[in-house]
C-alpha cells in the first residue's frame, strides 16, 4: 500500500507538470538548495538564460515572502534564535510555460492590504508595472516591510500574464493565501 499510495501521489504531481513541490518549513538554506537545483534542471533542458532568470527570480521572491510573512511560524531559542516559516512552493510547466505557485497562511488583518496590492498590479500593463517598480525602488522602505513592497512588483514584472491569486478562509483570524505566476 505504501508504494502504491506514494506512487499515485507522485503520479498526480507529474500529471500536473510539476518539477518541484516543497511543502513545510522553509528556510533560507532550503531556498538556496532548491533554487540551485531549479537552475540546473532548467539549464540542462536548454531553457534560455532570460527564462531561467525570470523563473529563478520569481521563485526567490515567493520563497522569501513565505519566510518573512507566513503567519504559520515556529520560533524558539536553542542556543541561537531559530525561526521557521511554513508554506508551499511549486514549480512546473503547462502549455509550454513555466508556472510558480506559492501558498502560505496569512493573518486576516493583513489580507485586505495584500489583496489591494495584487489587484493594483493586476490592473497594470507591462509599462505601468515597470514605471511603478522604478518609482518604488527610489522610495524609502515601508515601516515593517522587509522588502515585499518591491518584491511583488518584481514578480509582476517577470510574469507573462497577470498574477493569479486567491484567499481561502481558515477561521476568523487566518486565510490560506495562494498565488500563481506564469512565465
Amino acid at each position: 500500500m505504501l508504494a502504491k499510495h506514494y506512487r499515485s501521489f507522485k503520479h498526480d504531481l507529474d500529471q500536473r507538470g510539476i518539477i518541484f513541490s516543497f511543502s513545510g518549513y522553509l528556510s533560507e538554506e532550503i531556498l538556496y538548495s532548491l533554487g540551485n537545483a531549479l537552475r540546473q534542471k532548467m539549464t540542462l533542458e536548454d531553457a534560455n538564460v532570460t527564462t531561467v532568470k525570470k523563473v529563478f527570480s520569481v521563485f526567490v521572491e515567493q520563497a522569501q515572502n513565505i519566510i518573512r510573512y507566513s503567519a504559520d511560524k515556529l520560533s524558539g531559542d536553542k542556543g541561537k534564535a531559530i525561526e521557521l516559516s511554513s508554506g508551499m512552493v511549486t514549480i512546473g510547466t503547462e502549455n509550454d510555460r513555466f508556472f510558480i505557485v506559492c501558498a502560505n497562511v496569512v493573518l486576516a488583518a493583513d489580507e485586505p492590504r495584500l489583496r489591494e496590492r495584487l489587484e493594483l498590479l493586476r490592473s497594470m500593463d507591462r509599462d505601468a508595472i515597470k514605471a511603478y517598480y522604478k518609482e518604488q525602488l527610489r522610495e524609502a522602505p515601508e515601516e515593517q516591510s522587509k522588502g515585499a513592497t518591491i518584491g511583488l512588483i518584481e514578480i509582476a514584472r517577470r510574469a507573462s500574464e497577470p498574477i493569479e491569486f486567491d484567499f481561502d478562509p481558515i477561521d476568523d483570524q487566518k486565510f490560506f493565501f495562494c498565488m500563481k505566476v506564469s512565465i
Partner: protein, 127 residues
C-alpha cells in the same frame, strides 16, 4: 583609508574596494536573508570614501549575475550616493557588466543608468 574586501557567500556578492587605486567592484549574486546586513558595511565604507574623494578618478565595476528585489533597492541607494559624489566633483565611471544573452541584467543596468546625471555609465556586454 583601509580597503574593503568581503568574500562572496552563496547568496551575497564579493566586495573589492581598493580605495587607494580608486577601483571598486561588486561581483556575484545577491539574495541574502537580510539585505541591510550585507549592504550596511558597504554603504558605510563608500560614504566615508566618497565624502573625501574630491575630484579624483574612481571606477566602479558591477559584475552581478542575479540580485533580488531588496538588493535592487540597496543598489539604487548606492547609485544615488555615487551620483551625488559625482555631482560634487568626483570623476566617477561605472561599468555595468552583463552576459550578452541576459536581458534581465541588461535592463537593470539601463534602469539604473536612467537616474544618473553625473556618473559616466557604461553598459558592457560580456560574450
Amino acid at each position: 583609508m583601509e580597503n574593503l574586501t568581503i568574500a562572496a557567500t552563496e547568496r551575497s556578492p564579493a566586495v573589492d574596494f581598493d580605495f587607494a587605486a580608486g577601483r571598486l567592484s561588486l561581483k556575484g549574486e545577491s539574495y541574502p536573508e537580510d539585505a541591510s546586513a550585507v549592504f550596511g558595511p558597504i554603504f558605510a565604507a563608500l560614504e566615508t570614501f566618497l565624502g573625501a574623494a574630491g575630484d579624483r578618478e574612481v571606477t566602479f565595476d558591477f559584475e552581478l549575475i542575479y540580485f533580488n528585489s531588496s538588493s535592487a533597492k540597496a543598489l539604487m541607494n548606492m547609485f544615488q550616493m555615487l551620483d551625488q559624489a559625482a555631482g560634487a566633483g568626483c570623476r566617477l565611471q561605472v561599468n555595468w557588466f552583463y552576459a550578452a544573452d541576459d536581458d534581465t541584467m541588461k535592463e537593470f543596468g539601463e534602469d539604473f543608468s536612467e537616474d544618473l546625471d553625473h556618473v559616466g555609465f557604461h553598459l558592457v556586454a560580456v560574450e
